[in-house]
Symmetry: C2
């Protein structure tokens, strides 16, 4: 059960759609993606095939087409992406990340309150 290879940009883009849908066919994903940017149906299909090979999604036949479902919950995958990012960019410490966000005014007082609430709740 080792975690799959990290998601590339396009892979992530498709996974986000799939997490939102919870499940979907190539066509489902394609129809959503094409609203944002030009992309070919077969491109989406290729990418979803790759996601399946890499273990990011499971698929089963559903009528004529495959129905794809995320293999791991969004939260877990995103968390490991954050870990990787923090490791690579900040040497593993989240503190300079949030400090930087605060200095650049990317965090509000409400965000702060929310963090405080979470830290209190999960002691």
């Amino acid at each position: 059960m080792k975690p799959p290879a990290p998601l590339t940009d396009t892979e992530l883009e498709i996974m986000q759609v799939l997490w939102d849908l919870e499940r979907g066919t190539v066509r489902d994903v394609y129809e959503i993606l094409r609203k944002r940017r030009q992309v070919a149906y077969t491109t989406v299909m290729t990418m979803m095939g790759i996601l399946e090979e890499k273990g990011h999604v499971k698929r089963r036949k559903e009528g004529r087409a495959f129905l794809y479902t995320p293999a791991r919950p969004r939260q877990k995958v995103i968390a490991s992406m954050v870990d990787e990012f923090v490791g690579r960019v900040f040497g593993g410490s989240a503190r300079p990340l949030v400090v930087g966000l605060a200095k650049d005014r990317k965090l509000s007082a409400e965000d702060l309150a929310e963090i405080e609430r979470i830290l209190k709740e999960n002691p």
Copy 2:
């Protein structure tokens, strides 16, 4: 003055060394890098040449070799990497990022206090 293309992994690795050193030759960077992992001198040189082409570093002749200096401060570059990451992974909102960090206990009460202090100081 457009910001250069985003840093790739190896580029970032070298930039981190260069920001730490403030300036350095290929050999300086090479000697530090090779302590962490196997790498060829010419590989480091190639990468630093690419960093120069991309505008991430400046260089000038210093005796026989080139002396490289970062073109932009670490803080700015890292901040735009964070922006890109937050945009790509969290749709642009820093809140779910820090909330996730808090839930995963990657933030301490001290970190929280530091954020609070910064938000108060920069109103």
